[in-house]
Amino acid sequence: MTDKVRAIVAKEWADVFRNRMVIMLVAVPPALMVVLSLGVLGATRSFPPSDLDDMQMFMQQPSFAGLTEMEAAQVVMAQYFLTLFLLMPLIIPVSIAAYSIVGEKVQRSLEPLLATPVETSELLLAKCLAAVLPALGVTWLAFAIFVLGARVFAVSDAAFGRMVSPVWILMVLVIAPLMATMGVLLSVIASSRLNDPRAVEQGIGVLVVPVLGIFLAQMTGLLTINYLTLTIGALLLLAVDALMLRAAVKLFDREAILTRWR
């Protein structure tokens, strides 16, 4: 990372994180997710046996082999929440990038910056890092808290082992950065046309749909998260990120910013 990239990232954080709205958007979803997921896991321990009757449909699946109904219930709940954890690296960088890039447009601070010897690639990289790093930081922190909480609330070692399996750890470590990158690049693309950070967020809100699709597919048993689905998902996201990077680089060019961004 060059000095200029470091300086831009530092400036972005100093600027964007003075905005209370951004702080809320960065802090509230992970906090809610952790509280909700651990609350549900804790509550599962006290479910009466009659509430666990529905678990029979899951108990047939090989991944639940050897688990009691209570353990299976915790694993199911944990997996739902882990899918939702993947929303965080998507939503958080969008908020940061939207406020950062649209903010520069509104403050008209891009032109003086573009008149310095900074490369537009350095600027784009810095904008991406400034949005992706905090998003990954809070996602991983929230995940770590979830793992610790799951350890406390798990009814058994077997349940904990299935809840926080290596495939899920890889999912959070690999898929989350790719999702965050996708969110930031889409923000760059959307910010070139929109002048309101909220409009950018709403426009990109559509990205939540595929993640919710995975969530539903998993709930209905259509999709199982394993190494194969993880690899396919990662490759697909990598391809989408590469396409978006091309579009973002084209838009994030001095002339395009000054003459075509509205």
Binding site: D15, R18, E111, T116, R254, E255, L258
Partner: protein, 306 residues
């Protein structure tokens, strides 16, 4: 320091800047005067290597724009029409950020931040968020930012626009100091008083460059077109005498005074005076009418519009 040859910029069918050929010497303050949409900002953006050139070429500080853009940007400072500050961070942080963008080392950064905050009287506000500054202070901060890396060439777009008279004066005095330091300055302005006061030469632009001259030269382009004849008597009947002369294009008469618009005043003033004397006028004196820079500018722009 700045050389352009047939510099042209088109946006699809619209030609924003049309074959501008210009040479600005080191240490010169060159003013761009022109109506809104005349191509001033587009010209500056091309020279600052911010947007591409459609046709022609430009060199800034010895580097060719479009080919050595990074070198060009190292040597220029720009004050955009809007200050474009980072509102939530402090005055000092705004400057330090730009110091890093120009790769100024930390010791030098400290010195220059202090120097420009002090020169522009912003020392007391150094820790205040930029958003809390008045419009004049914001403009001064933007000017400090443009100067921080001590560029050879400065582009100033409407530096005093919207400022109160006191802030405008501080900015003008700062520009005068930069001029005294020998920096090359391109000043885009609508403020004719400012152009007259600060510029060594002025280019009147309306897509193409209509005229380049010193402020005095621009005024003179209209001076010579009118003369004032002071008479010892009322002179009402003399207006008709003058009006009949073939080189006279207009006459205004007031008691004891004729304002005569004529072609080639140097050659025709003696003929005018002789005609008046032969008609019985008592001529006290004849002097050129001094047009203001505003009149010269408006005449040029109006002529370009015809």
């Amino acid at each position: 320091m700045i050389e352009t040859k047939d510099l042209t910029r088109r946006f699809e069918a619209f030609t924003a800047v049309d074959h501008v050929t210009l040479s600005v010497a080191a240490g010169e303050v060159f003013g761009f005067l022109g109506p809104n949409g005349a191509g001033k900002t587009t010209t500056v953006r091309m020279l600052a290597a911010l947007i591409g050139i459609t046709e022609g070429e430009a060199h800034v500080a010895g580097f060719r724009v479009g080919e050595q853009d990074k070198e060009v940007r190292r040597r220029i400072g720009i004050l955009t029409e809007s200050p474009g500050l980072y509102d939530r961070i402090s005055v000092e942080a705004n400057l330090r950020f730009f110091a890093r963008m120009h790769s100024i080392d930390r010791t030098e950064e400290d010195r220059r931040v202090d120097k420009y905050l002090s020169l522009l009287m912003l020392q007391e506000k150094r820790r205040a968020p930029a958003a809390t500054l008045s419009k004049g202070m914001k403009q001064k901060l933007a000017l400090a930012r443009a100067m921080l890396h001590e560029p050879q060439v400065l582009f100033l777009d409407e530096p005093t626009s919207g400022l109160d008279p006191e802030a405008a004066r501080v900015v003008r005095e700062f520009i005068a100091e930069l001029r005294a330091e020998g920096r090359t300055i391109i000043l885009c302005t609508h403020n004719l008083f400012e152009a007259d006061l600060l510029c060594d030469r002025i280019g009147v632009i309306k897509q193409s460059l209509l005229k380049v001259d010193t402020p005095a030269g621009l005024r003179a382009s209209l001076y010579g077109q009118k003369v004032e004849v002071r008479l010892a008597e009322d002179g009402a009947e003399m207006a008709a005498v003058v009006g009949r002369l073939p080189f006279v294009t207009g006459v205004e008469q007031e008691p004891g005074k004729l304002t005569v618009e004529l072609r080639d005043p140097d050659g025709n003033n003696p003929v005018l005076v002789r005609a008046l004397v032969e008609a019985g006028a008592l001529v006290r004196y004849v002097r050129p009418v001094e047009a203001s820079l505003e009149e010269a500018y408006l005449a040029l722009v109006a002529e370009a519009g015809r």
